[in-house]
Symmetry: C3
Subunit: 281 residues, 3 copies
């Protein structure tokens, strides 16, 4: 395994080594506006704070434009969406586009109901998205690729998913990050796999939503090289997750959740460089 | 105390010993649809995941029917209810009945306001409930028994509560589980008392709501013997609670909450059999 | 530093020494009605329980009056406010005033949007507030003092803030508690500074909101001497925070959050007296 990662693409490594997003986040403490679901609000806010950014939340259209004016990034998450939050997302998204701040879309459960699909179509038509962060089912649904959530073996799945992610990136001219056992990060041309992480991350609610918050925070302090910054956000989250899962105090998912936030709080750009298991594919 | 539990009804014990709900939940990973209150959503989702099931949440009528179509059980919880979530509950409940999946009702705070009582009457009239899970005040309110929340001594209270629970079960032809210092589980004919648990469980918010999520998960993998399965769900929750309260790392309610989720994550069917303190009354 | 606090005003010390709010809260278990934001509901409920009070939450106008009739204090928090919760706040506030129970206002993010300002003006015009709890920016916004959130050095800031807090107290004839590195507690005439606390408290979401819940609980068991009781609430929260931050198990903000609730659960009136760093100014 180590031999495998030793062949890490050298050009990328150098580019990545110059990045110091966590340091920048802690210095700038960017305000991240989350319109997110009611299950994860507290954890997403705490994760945003843990890495040094500052969260603000509200899902009413009356406040969406003004809060976006204050923010350095916007994160839209469609879990528990309802007409008010959908309207807030559209208003905030348009304001973010005018203002030129990054917009992250986490299409939670887009395949579950026709209402979510309908909202997603409007969001993708009316707002320019910087990065879409989803799990396999969500990315495949948005890419329009046939993908069965159950009964697909890993090998087959992996191949399809890389293709889905790239297609989606090209379709909407945005970055795509697919979280899973192996994460896929792409801009439609260059694609990376992140092999960090731990299965326990999928056993707490909202870990994907927390990652979207991290992605928003990272993108908010980046001017260019956004694919590399998105990659760095994914690695950070996965490295913190594996550190937490391996920590001696963790006995189950309750202690894992607290320890995960501790590790995100303690994480440095140096940790990312030292622990990353990344491959360009 | 041990002598007391040694007289545990042998017939039940044998029936119970064949049950392996936790193993089944972990194998099937059933999707549990929770329409629940905003105070506890995160904890309920994490508890559902901890025991091996998969939570989905949404409280808007636009999504209620489609999500119910995907789910293996429906859990309705009336804490922080509002017109949208009430409508979602009615739509989801009717769909669940047509589809034949279990419906758990947690009538949180039903005695507190006339609005909650009104909604509860509609739910109980329009939906066939599989199991009602409530505390003493909630069960007594629904049963229509006079019961004073304060100033009632334990002995008197206990007797009344068993009667209330049985009456309620017979009135709605459903299972009833009453959580308290001693839990009462009944189908109106057969009644059990569960003497597991720990007072600290009542000192964190939403422990009753988490139990309803556990009940929904257990019932979702059960075809018959539902009273025994409900009993098993109550024992599981109480055993995990007492293990957590006695764990060396717990100093107060903050650490108890994390440790409780750890214990639910670690719990096995074997633990339930070994630690149960149950009596048929 | 210790010499400094040794000059603690003796008259106040004696008055304070007679207070035993935590003991009273644990004895009376007052019901505290929180109309609060969706990010912090769970933590606020758990903190309320940890100190011995009993939380109830609901943000729909249909329930606001009846729940207030049951409660011993009302806490209004404007984070994630929307038209329904705003209406619930106004109804609950008026009922609380008629009934004569304390009303605590936490004007979360009042400076962020015109909608929040508009609601705040209505609340302050239509409801008699017992205590306003806010951070520097919120208190300055309500006081109408010019105050820049960034680029103001501590010395300058501190002086302005004491003046803002006093002005606000006099303007609305209420108590004001300003949380920050140094807390300021005033009734417009007498003013205290609390130098307990720890920077980590600002690195978890909703610590200010939790403090408002503590303030509501303390005021609910107090007949008079409300300034001293508010002061005690602030000291309690800050002492628990510093105990938590210094506890050996805390590695980051995830473990801090659990440990903070543990410390609030373990806190006694004796701890408050022993650890307070208070000065009348």
């Amino acid at each position: 395994m180590e031999g495998f990662f030793a062949c890490y693409y050298e050009g990328v490594k150098e580019m990545e080594d110059e990045l110091n997003s966590l340091e920048k986040i802690k210095q700038e403490s960017p305000l991240i506006y989350h319109i997110t679901n009611n299950v994860v609000k507290n954890d997403v806010a705490n994760v945003t704070l843990a890495i040094g950014a500052s969260p603000i939340m509200s899902d009413h259209p009356k406040e969406a434009e003004e809060i976006t004016q204050l923010a350095s990034a916007l994160v839209l998450n469609t879990g528990t969406i309802h007409p008010n939050s959908a309207e807030a997302m559209l208003l905030a998204g348009k304001t973010a586009n005018k203002k030129g701040i990054p917009v992250v879309l986490d299409p939670v459960g887009v395949g579950a109901t026709s209402y979510r699909k309908e909202i997603m179509i409007r969001i993708l038509e009316e707002i320019e998205i910087t990065a879409i962060k989803g799990n396999a089912g969500e990315i495949a649904t948005l890419a329009g690729t046939a993908w069965k959530t159950k009964g697909v073996d890993a090998g087959e799945g992996e191949a399809d998913l890389v293709e889905s992610a790239k297609q989606l990136a090209n379709k909407h001219n945005c970055l795509v990050g697919l979280s899973g056992e192996v994460d896929i990060v792409t801009d439609g041309k260059t694609t990376y796999q992140v092999k960090n992480g731990h299965p326990m991350m999928a056993q707490i609610t909202g870990s994907g939503c927390m990652l979207s918050g991290v992605v928003g925070s990272f993108l908010s302090v980046s001017k260019d090289e956004t694919l590399e910054v998105l990659l760095q956000a994914f690695i950070s989250f996965a490295v913190a997750g594996e550190k937490a899962a391996n920590h001696s105090s963790v006995r189950g998912t309750g202690s894992f959740r607290s320890t995960f936030i501790d590790e995100l709080y303690l994480l440095t750009d140096e940790d990312i460089k030292k622990n990353r298991k990344v491959e360009e594919i």
